[in-house]
């Protein structure tokens, strides 16, 4: 393993060297239209009568090389490839990325490459100009952040987020600026020529916190969701605020005298910039959503609209010198909800992938360049100034977090405790924005080099030191209370149950206190916005179509999976089995078994509220497998419980007829129509930070096949010739999930067929039922629909409702539920 790593590293270094040499070569090829290498034809006698009128001309070159023509795209591509190789390289050895955040690694690689280039006296490509950064590199990163922002937690915490972003940044900038100005007055450091405005300008650059590395760490250590979202939101708005401050201060720095009017105007400008940015973003978001309403015939270019409109929002905001970051973020936020309804599933996936890809590559490139430029620029080092900068940045951030938290905690539903505050303060890493802003400082500032050096110093310091050390520190603080080895399995399971319960009850109670506004917005949304922005021909038919498609997909997938151990369906055991289980001898459990169990549980039990973390992982697409599994299970249980005959709860044997829902009409007739109404009545669904509502529907409707144990005990199929041998304890027998009359079109029902059941000693009830159903699903298109139990099943008493008659397709022709 190490050998392969070192070999890879070696190859990697070789590649780097080659690339830099290539750059080195660049300067030496004189631009010639026809290149230099020609191959002369072997025979060319002079005394041959000249067939060509111009024998003195050079011969037709066979190989030519024209570097300057492709130079720029070529270099860009090479740099991007190099950065991507670096990313690949990191994941070779997984443990590295746990302890060292990716940004550190990227910067290190950049440093190495920079060193190589420096040693061959090569200049880095002069691409890091202000325009390139702000017009090409920054938008993808911000779009990435905005697009994958979990909306509900974000809006719940928006007050805190704005408070920290705006006031916090202001506090930091002014604080650091003032202190540095004070330091400048000290003669010993020799920086007296820096005046207050310049100090403030510099301070505004370095107060932009970029907690990329912190987010990485936070999600590993499972910091609480609130902290996570505040940090995430702060990062986003922070950029906007910084850029605004920067522009303001740079304008002010060039003015000889600052008057109070200017301060007032500055504040006013701040509001104009911020709100204007948001306004533009919302406007473009709506236009984009509206456009996608009509793109059903041009599916291939649907993703393009998202990108073009976001970029347009950004550029237009830049045109008016208002906050382009806010514009693009709000555009993404607004757009996402409606667009993901309108576009096809594939476009949706494409959009997400591309957004992630662009954001990722931009970020990689920026950190990479940071490393390269560090080596290759002229530095002006001033110990005093730089060290004090580091100190003040740290101190002011800590103070700021402390003071601001004290003020905002009473207004928060979940106050921040000291641990959270430490995380917030220590997690104040600086990053790309500071770097870019430093480089684009106007040249008339005398000490520009010093500022650049100081910025780079602080970035490197925070990224490396704080980035690497934050993880151990947080783990140290978050002392786990229970030592896992001492707690019993019982405790582990029950505690997790309690945690899930608490999470559920909290969600149920709704921590968001402004129901009034939320409801109002939802009503407005439903009545007006959705009508305009969403293609209204979709309604049910597309959902049904999607369901069909997904059922097909699932069938294929299930055919492919071979493993018989994957069981998504919980085990519902019959009465028979219960009797049997008491006869089983007591098992002996070794210590090793116990450890295994603990391991299994800790790895496989669902975590609480994972969705926020899953969505904001900067380097990966949202991972919603957990939610999918849960929804699938729920859906299957809902369908099962909707079957008629489940109403006679008093006659139900001890064994359960459901796995997650109680016996009986847990969902009455109202349920199917309410699912129907999901398309109109969004209510709470819009707040879910779930990738798309469609996939929400996709999950439940997929469950019918997914919940089945794929291919497990397929032999039961062969062994089940007839329907009759049904154990009456099998309460699940004969159910046809026909309750979902809308989504279960005829297609689904033909597949979710009451399969012939077969008594399986010691087998679980729904397991085999599902199995058979599933197997039927795959192997036979239309299965026999007989499922009447021979022996009286108390479960299938008279069918109280005639939902079957609602849709003739749903009716089971031979199934007489009245059979007792």
């Amino acid at each position: 393993m190490d050998l392969s790593i070192s070999r890879r590293a070696g190859v990697f270094l070789v590649i780097c060297t080659v690339l830099s040499l290539l750059y080195g070569c660049r300067g030496e090829i004189p631009p010639k239209p026809t290149g230099g290498v020609t191959i002369v034809p072997p025979i060319k006698p002079d005394n041959v009568p000249q067939a060509y009128p111009d024998a003195e001309k050079a011969n037709l070159p066979v190989f030519t090389m024209d570097y300057p023509r492709i130079q720029i795209p070529f270099e860009i591509t090479l740099w991007m490839l190099l950065a991507s190789f670096a990313k690949i390289g990191f994941h070779v050895y997984h443990k590295i990325t746990i302890w060292v955040p990716e940004s550190c690694l990227l910067v290190s690689i950049g440093l190495i490459v920079g060193a190589i280039m420096h040693s061959v006296h090569e200049e880095p490509p002069a691409v890091l100009t202000s325009n390139v950064f702000f017009l090409y590199m920054l938008p993808p990163i911000v779009l990435d952040s905005g697009y994958f922002m979990p909306t509900r937690p974000f809006f719940e915490n928006i007050g805190t987020v704005l408070w920290f972003a705006v006031v916090g940044t202001l506090w930091n900038s002014i604080g650091i600026g003032m202190s540095l100005f004070a330091i400048c007055q000290i003669e010993a450091f020799g920086v007296q020529d820096i005046n207050l405005q310049e100090n403030l300008l510099f301070a505004s650059i370095i107060s932009a916190v970029d907690p990329v590395a912190v987010l990485n760490v936070f999600e590993d250590v499972s910091v609480n969701e609130q902290l996570y979202i505040v940090v995430f939101g702060e990062c986003l708005f922070n950029d906007a605020v910084t850029v605004v401050l920067y522009n303001m201060f740079s304008f002010v720095a060039e003015m000889p005298v600052v008057e109070p009017v200017d301060v007032f105007l500055g504040v006013a400008r701040f509001f104009v910039v911020g709100l204007g940015g948001m306004g533009f973003g919302i406007l473009f978001g709506f236009v984009a959503a509206f456009t996608t309403r009509f793109t059903s015939k041009v599916r291939e270019i649907e993703p393009l609209f998202i990108f073009m409109y976001s970029y347009l929002a950004y550029l237009v905001a830049e045109l008016f010198a208002i906050s382009s970051i806010m514009a693009i973020v709000t555009c993404a936020l607004t757009m996402k909800y409606y667009v993901e309804e309108n576009v096809s599933q594939r476009s949706c996936t494409t959009i997400r992938h591309v957004v992630k890809m662009l954001g990722s590559i931009s970020e990689t490139l920026i950190f990479f360049f940071l490393g390269v430029v560090t080596i290759t620029t002229e530095h002006e080092w001033n110990w005093g100034y730089i060290l004090f900068t580091l100190l003040f940045a740290f101190v002011w951030r800590g103070l700021g977090v402390l003071v601001l938290t004290q003020i905002i905690n009473p207004f928060r539903t979940i106050p921040f405790n000291l641990k959270d505050q430490f995380g917030l303060a220590y997690g104040g890493l600086r990053g790309a924005i500071s770097f870019a802003l430093a480089f684009t400082l106007p040249d008339n500032i005398g000490r520009k080099q010093l500022f650049v050096t100081a910025t780079i110093a602080i970035i490197l310091f925070t990224v490396f030191l704080q980035g690497i050390s934050i993880r151990p520190l947080i783990e140290f603080i978050n002392v786990r209370r229970t030592n896992r080895n001492l707690s019993t399995i019982n405790v582990e399971i029950h505690c997790r149950l309690m945690e899930h319960t608490i999470a559920g009850i909290e969600d149920l109670c709704g921590q968001w206190s402004h129901f009034y506004w939320k409801d109002k917005f939802m009503k407005f949304n439903n009545r007006i916005l959705r009508r305009i922005l969403i293609r209204d021909s979709r309604a049910e038919s597309s959902i049904v179509a999607l369901y069909k498609k997904l059922e097909l997909q699932n069938a294929m997938e299930i055919l492919d999976t071979v493993s018989g151990d994957i069981s998504a369906a919980p085990s519902i055991v019959s009465l028979y089995e219960e009797k049997k289980s008491s006869a089983k001898p007591k098992k002996k459990f070794l210590a090793a078994d116990l450890r295994n169990m603990h391991d299994i549980l800790s790895k496989n039990m669902y975590k609480i509220r994972q969705r926020t973390v899953a969505y904001t992982n900067k380097h990966a697409l949202p991972n919603d497998s957990q939610t999918k599994e849960i929804l699938i299970r729920r859906h299957a249980s809902i369908r099962r419980s909707l079957r008629p005959g489940s109403f006679q709860s008093n006659m139900v044997p001890k064994s359960h007829k459901y796995f997650s829902l109680p016996a009986g009409q847990s969902l009455d007739l109202k349920f199917p129509p309410s699912r129907l109404s999901y398309t109109d009545d969004h209510e709470t669904m819009s707040e879910v930070a779930y990738p798309s509502r469609r996939s929400r529907f996709g999950q439940p409707t997929r469950s019918s096949s997914r919940a089945m144990m794929p291919m497990r005990r397929l032999d039961t199929l062969k062994e089940a010739p007839s329907v009759d041998a049904v154990d009456e304890g099998r309460s699940d027998g004969g159910r046809t999930g026909h309750g979902m009359s809308r989504t279960n079109s005829s297609y689904s029902d033909s597949h979710v067929v009451p399969a012939p059941r077969r008594h399986h000693p010691g087998d679980n009830n729904s397991g085999s039922a599902d199995n058979l159903r599933n197997s039927h699903h795959e192997t036979q298109e239309e299965e026999e629909e007989q499922s009447q139990p021979s022996s009286p099943s108390p479960v299938w008493a008279a069918e109280p409702r005639d939902s079957t008659t609602r849709n003739p397709l749903l009716r089971r022709p031979q199934w007489n539920p009245k059979k007792m």
């Binding site: 405790v491 899930h500 069981s567 085990s571 116990l594 109680p662």
Partner: protein
């Protein structure tokens, strides 16, 4: 809006709920507004679908069981009293309550009642025992798809073995309490209700 007049909360009701559950006045009003916002049918009661509309509950592994806990045996609708009664289980135990003389019944948020709530999440048929199958069901709901049935079965067996003292191969409520005696249930099963 006129039809909703009957569902507005009257002062006497608030007082009664306060006495029964221990919530403060502002908490009750806040939860009432949440109740009404969930109550789409505007008939003063919540049905299961109303709960299921909460998307976060949908992706909670125990979502359905939690919802079920609100509805008394065999009923389909829960009114505000029932809603508050269930939520009262999660009120944090305040210090002054610990010393109160519980002459009457225990408060809803006592440790025992919290544990009973958790117990009932497992024990659906209310026979005061968590059988192996009930345990397996809940386990299956809480784990991903990568655990085989055998593994889960072993875990369930071990769980019962650890807790079962009277050998009936199921966990009774007392055994449940005993197993969790070292766990800070008061803190784990409490949420901070907003004012």
């Amino acid at each position: 809006m006129g039809s909703r007049a009957s569902t507005l909360l009257r002062e006497e009701e608030i007082e009664e709920i306060k006495k029964e559950t221990g919530f403060s006045h502002s908490q009750i009003t806040r939860l009432y507004s949440r109740f009404t916002s969930l109550d789409k049918g505007e008939n003063g009661t919540l049905s299961r679908e109303d709960f299921q509309r909460i998307p976060e509950l949908a992706i909670n592994p125990l979502g359905d069981r939690i919802i079920n806990a609100f509805f008394p045996e065999g009923e389909d609708q829960v009114n505000f009293r029932g809603f508050m009664r269930t939520l009262a289980h999660f009120r944090p135990i305040e210090d002054n309550e610990k010393n109160k003389n519980q002459a009457a019944s225990e408060p809803l948020n006592s440790r025992t009642n919290k544990l009973l709530f958790a117990f009932r999440l497992y024990d659906l048929d209310r026979d005061d025992k968590i059988s192996r199958d009930e345990l397996l069901q809940v386990l299956r709901m809480m784990v991903g798809v990568n655990i085989s049935d055998e593994q889960l079965g072993s875990i369930a067996d071990r769980t019962i073995q650890e807790a079962d003292t009277n050998g009936d191969n199921s966990i009774s409520f007392n055994e449940f309490i005993k197993v969790l005696e070292k766990v800070d249930v008061e803190q784990k099963m409490s949420i901070r209700f907003l004012h």
